[in-house]
Symmetry: C2
Subunit: 105 residues, 2 copies
Amino acid sequence: MQLEKSFGETIRDLRIENHLTLREVAEHLKIDTSMLGKIEKNNRNPSKQFIKDISNLFSIDEDLLTVAHLSDTVAYSILEEELATEVLKVAEEKINYYNKNKANK
Amino acid sequence: MQLEKSFGETIRDLRIENHLTLREVAEHLKIDTSMLGKIEKNNRNPSKQFIKDISNLFSIDEDLLTVAHLSDTVAYSILEEELATEVLKVAEEKINYYNKNKANK
DNA sequence: CTACTTTTGGACTGAAGTTGTCCAAAATAT
DNA sequence: ATATTTTGGACAACTTCAGTCCAAAAGTAG
């Protein structure tokens, strides 16, 4: 798994590897070229539909891109905090606690 | 550390332990009573200033409440995702990567 | 150099979300 | 029954975000 690569970098690299331009990919996905450019530069968020479509286009696992995107969002939201690592640890405990309780509803 | 307690529950419990009403605490913090009630119910976000002030009021570590709040936000944002745990793992790697690179700027 | 294509980013609009405030109903306590 | 506390709806002001359009900048090729 490509650890440090952002969602935008990931899909840009995929596009380059496939020798496509922004315009071409945007046309396939039926979105604005400028929009795609911004997503690649992490200046706009990809929608769920976008992730689904582009995964499909490049035949790559949708979960992989979903994780790339959501982890970007989470990381970015606490990047400047000294307590970031602690925050993640506690967040994980809360999620586990939530899922545990959801199980025996 | 109180794992599963949300930020709101945490400060509500602190208030009850200290035998104070919403109105009283709100007055100390110079905020609207209704606002405080909503924060305790996790229906509104605490501001940084709010966290600072209420930590001060109850003489508890500000970092503890900050972590409680931020972990709530992070957990809530990915709670419904199957991939939540994976997301947190990758987010942590991204944060470490970011901090590593910040070190040797 | 010129013509063409791609990439980048500013500007804008409407939609969606957030904050803080006020008020009144509901719940609780005296 | 009266007081107080708690809850939550409604609202305006404000911020944020998505998506679109356009033009300048950067890159490519003749």
